[in-house]
Subunit: 351 residues, 2 copies
DNA sequence: TCACGTCATTACATCGATGTAATACTCCCA
DNA sequence: TGGGAGTATTACATCGATGTAATGACGTGA
């Protein structure tokens, strides 16, 4: 005895207004002209009965549901939350509703995800992949339109991205301009650059570019794997300190990672930026409120998401058009955390 | 020519397997026994055609969609993101999908929301209200089952809550135990305790309880309105400092607010906890990684959400049963930010 | 006054899955 | 070997909204 059966239908409205169900439908969709007289009568009946159209029925009939999916690794990181918020807002503005899926917590989720994307009658999917290979998107049939956001190397699907390699270069250059010479990289190691982790690869590549032009070498001992969370950043920073190597700056691949690193640096009594410079990536709200405020790579999250929704909308309208890739510009926001020159950290062992 | 029409249907599968559509349905639902032979044949056909059932059709037929709604004020605050994450996870575990709605950004959203909740064919709704009055939930007809989470005074709807008044009492008592006497309250003022803001009211009430038992009075000049975000916390803290009143502790009604406050205190050169104690509420991940780490009121977000989903599930199963309210226990997590006694802040003007 | 065009309205079929009731089939035992 | 129990399968109707084609009403011009 499901509740919807108790809801009024067009038939009920029609009966009350003394017209046929189709006329009610005409009033609702507005596709066909309805005389002013009957229109007002129908509208009154709808109000009286508190009528709301049944979306499942409409979706079944039209093949459109007005629902889009948004899949991301993990809602809890500050960046993800910010993006998710923007997606929901932007979707609302277009009369769309958002279904959220998280992909990070089980290896098989990516697969489940595309399966569910089909089951759940979604008009389109915005996918923020972290480990999603091209193959999954490419090889699954009957997928709704998909737009990728992020720095994935992917050309068979519409996508929105920022030039992460350039951003990485800018970041490293900034740190060097401020006097840094030995930059810890929290975000991945050079050996790690597989297709699976193109985003990390690009940021890292950018850093290496910049180091190269400055004739500095990319010390592998300054690179470390990291989980993309605050706790992950803290762990990675601890590991780095345990390595007992000298460094004078930290470039974290997300602001959250940077916050974890900041915490551990404080814990060890290292001062930012007097001893060590720190910078992040994404410019989440919190970045302006850490202590010291965090220098970071900034881009407009709203623009980012709006571009994705635009792509999705045009893809839904025309499935055959060539795929497009939209770049969102980024910039460096300099805050106190990188006001150099840094004194540098020299581990006790090397004294 | 919407994409779903190109998707294989049960009819297609049936044709390929040489059975009737209903038999395919029987295989999928498993409600009726199907011979081992035909079952395997049908399953093979489903795999070959890459069949996925159409949820709109199923939803239309069954009145259930497998989708629940989650409405919250704002995804970007750390607490909301954490809760949203838990909702998505817990829903996944039950084979449900989550649609997200944000309510904070327009005054009319609450209303829109319940309207949309009905349109969008949702089996149930988990609502984290901030300003949602009882009336909206009570007076709208044909609403799917609703579970409220938060400290709303509300008895006509299932809800999950923590004892915020007790929590406020515990928090204030802790601060006083650590030597605080003049506690800034970032979260609302006493005059402000309307039904609309019962949550704030309860936390505030708890603080006042504790102050009362200690024979301290609730100085109105130490209470301030605040937007529930990091920036809001910072603003409020600045306003408090501008008031040039003496204080020796800050109790922020969320961790995010506390983080904004911490930032501003640093900015003013006040040391935490040497000069001023600070504590928050919610125990989000970040609270352990601020500097100094933040004392806060903690409760299990997963339990919180799981309880809500349980309530929702049983409400969906039986719409007539009496409403229930589930309390989730909380505790105080003491960290460095409240290691007193504090020296106290005395504004220049009062010197 | 009658035929014809215009526009509002209606009857009907359809989207895909599934419950109900009826049918076909299998197997066993008298 | 035929009847009955029991099971696998099918035909059909249905959920609610909406496109299509047909009907109805009305007004205009000859």
């Amino acid at each position: 005895m499901p509740y919807p059966s108790s809801r009024p239908t067009m038939r009920d409205v029609a009966e009350r207004a003394g017209v046929s169900p189709k006329t009610v439908s005409n009033v609702v969709t507005g596709a066909v002209t309805v005389s002013e007289n009957t229109r007002t009568r129908v509208e009154a009946a709808m109000v009286e009965l508190d009528f709301v159209p049944n979306l499942s029925a409409r979706g079944l009939r039209n093949g459109r549901t007005g629902v889009i999916g948004f899949a991301l690794p993990d809602l809890t990181t500050a960046f993800s939350a910010s993006i998710a918020h923007s997606v929901v807002e932007a979707a609302h503005a277009r009369g769309l509703v958002v279904q959220i899926e998280e992909t990070a917590f089980e290896p098989t989720r990516e697969y489940d995800l595309v399966y569910r994307a089909r089951t759940h009658q979604i008009d389109g999917l915005i996918l923020n992949p972290v480990r999603l290979q091209d193959s999954v998107v490419d090889h699954v049939r009957h997928l709704p339109p998909v737009v990728l956001i992020g720095e994935v190397e992917q050309h068979s699907t519409d996508r929105v991205f920022i030039d992460s390699r350039q951003a990485g270069r800018t970041a490293a250059q900034h740190l060097m301009d401020q006097g840094a010479r030995r930059i810890v990289i929290l975000g991945g190691t050079a050996t790690d650059m597989s297709a699976k982790q193109a985003a990390l690869g690009q940021r890292l590549q950018g850093v290496l570019d910049a180091l190269g032009s400055a004739q500095l070498d990319a010390a592998p001992e300054l690179q470390v794997e990291v989980r993309w969370s605050i706790a992950g950043g803290a762990e990675a920073m601890r590991e780095m300190l345990a390595r007992e190597v000298a460094f004078d700056a930290v470039f974290a691949f997300t602001d959250s990672i940077a916050m974890g690193a900041l915490h551990v640096l404080h814990e060890y009594g290292l001062r930012v930026p007097e001893d060590v410079l720190v910078m992040g990536f994404d410019n989440v709200e919190h970045a302006a409120y850490t202590w010291p405020p965090l220098t970071t790579i900034s881009f407009d999250h709203q623009d980012y998401v709006t571009a994705a929704l635009d792509l999705l909308a045009s893809r839904v309208a025309d499935r055959g058009s060539p795929t497009r890739a939209v770049e969102i510009s980024h910039s460096l926001v300099a805050r106190r955390s990188t006001e150099g020159p840094p004194r540098g950290h020299t581990p006790p062992a090397s004294l």
